[in-house]
Amino acid sequence: MLSQKEPIERHVLSVLVDNEPGVLGRVVGLFSGRGYNIESLTVSEIEHDKHRSRITIVTSGTPAIIDQIEAQLGRLVPVHRVVDLSNSGPMVERELALIKVAGKGEIRAEALRLAEAFRARVMDATIESFVFELTGKSDKLDQFISLMLPLGLVEVSRTGVAAISRGPKGM
């Protein structure tokens, strides 16, 4: 086929949609129906009066597949715009994670030291646990979480990626 020899790339797509019932279902259904990957997906209304939401999708595929994903998303009736942020200059990409760690003594102190090194914030603390909040690129979050693993990691909640292009121009 078209794409088999090309390398797999990770892309961040921004999709502006009408915030109407079912719009997220359409987007997700498109990915599952056509066999595309979703590594992360976030959605929230960004303009209340216009009922407009922004969906940020991290996906992976060959360049041809990424083009298809863009075109297929563009075909959905409630979709206004699709921008492949990975293909349109530099961008800022952020994700937030809440990380719960339980433990006592030296382990606990070590977890806190590492949290400080990563500039994670303590959102909740008991004598035997912490909840850290950490914001950054996904790989930084991954790294922090793997460090917490031997230090009593209980659970993780992540928002998925939000992204925006750098510079004065909007999408």
Partner: protein, 593 residues
Amino acid sequence: MAKKIAKQQMTGAEIVVRALLDQGVDTIFGYPGGAVLPIYDALFQQNELQHILARHEQGATHSAEGYARSTGKVGVVLVTSGPGATNAVTGMVDALMDSIPLVVITGQVPTHLIGTDAFQECDTVGITRAATKHNYLVKDVNDLARILHEAFYVARSGRPGPVLVDIPKDLQFAAGLYTGPENVSHPTYQPRVKGDEDRIRAAVELMASARKPVFYTGGGIINSGPEASEALRELVHATGFPITSTLMGLGAFPASDKQWLGMLGMHGTYEANHTMHDCDVMICLGARFDDRVTGRVDAFSPGSKKIHVDIDPSSINKIIKVDIPIIGDVGNVIKEMLRLWKDEKKKADKDALKDWWKQIGRWRSRKSLNYTGSKNIIKPQYAVERLYEATKGRETYVTTEVGQHQMWAAQYYHFEQPNRWMTSGGLGTMGYGLPAAIGAQVAHPDALVCCIAGEASVLMNMQEMSTATQFRLPIKVFILNNEYMGMVRQWQQLLHGARYSQSYSEALPDFVKLAEAYGGKGIRCEDPAELDQKIQEMLDYDGPVLFDCRVEKVENCFPMIPSGKAHNDMILGDAAAAEDIGSVISEEGKVLV
């Protein structure tokens, strides 16, 4: 007429009827039930909208497709909630795959019961999300009129398709404001119609430099409208290039023309497929490089530069990478190409083109549609040829079911005009042809409408014969009865060691008696010598006919590009008879469909 009051109070059910009328709808296809009773009541109290009562909701959707495809208008379907909606799903997917504009209105349980597993409740918008171009669940009666108008706009704009509007029963009773269709489009859905000028210019340059060009056209031309077909004819004549078409595009260019190569693809002609394989410039207009067309993708027309015009950006570079993509309405772009070609006095390379046509002549001389005739048995190809000869002078619309007969119809029935040929291409839906013929006949009461059918497919929506009888629709159902699911049998012969698992049409009904049971006429023909006279008898009868044409049982459909093979790797009928055809398909090819 008095100036319409822009906004007016009425019930949801009245809004539906009014919106349909304001959209210019004169006919709808449907089936009643609890969740649409108010709309049926509103239909009862008017006589501008004609309602064709199907006998199964799938039948209603295919009839609406036949109506739409033969007129260029939007087909409209009205069905109830739950089973009514699920029965209509196949027709919607069929329309989605073949880009047929439909508006499907479904009733839904009352708003307060949604989500409670109420009687005849189903998640219609959930189920049909992937079956429609777009769908709506109406939540406020004051949105109903706008949504309906929007649905028509979405169904017919861009790449056409089915749009569903699900209306809870309480909203059908509720009073709300009606708004007319004036200026209703869609705030964001604005497909691009005009092609990029620089690209069109580049395409025309490339065409003028071609030595071995070919036009490869598809159903998009039909969708674009009769003007697109007109413009295509002019462009093809102005350039002198050969032209082939997909199954869906038949009729956009006249089959009697010297430049016509016949259909391409899996059962296309030898000359069409070889021309595609060897060309140096391919001009793809409103077609989408379907796997039935391309054969093995990595061996598809390896030496050509490709121009692709399509209104759907997702069709571009989906299967085949092209050199000049042009997004826009194909009719619009063809006209632009034609204008540039003429204005800039472009000329094809005469000598090169002459050599090219000479080569094409050699391919043509293989006569890939030849078949072995018979005096004793009706060959299915012969039957279609005779039907064509008997009907070609008339205004004839042809629909098909799905299988070998469908391919024989495409190969041996020849079309001169667009919108005359209706077949289920993308989905390949057995059961499409008979109801589609009903839709075409409703739209063209005085024309001849023939459904070329297989004995297995036609049973899938046979109940629609009642509809034909009720509405006095004189459709002619011409059944090529080979007592097999012939296409399945052929694949089993080619790929599965001639183990004919479940493909024999056991316990067939007596089609003559069946026709009579439905109040139509039945005709049976087994003798080639009687065929012409019996076809005439069918055509002369003023009413629906089931024609049981008993044909050769084990005829195969050739020529054929076996799955997994390239365009220049076709098997022809004579070659297939000579060698063990089971061995021509590779292991890799077998997993393909």
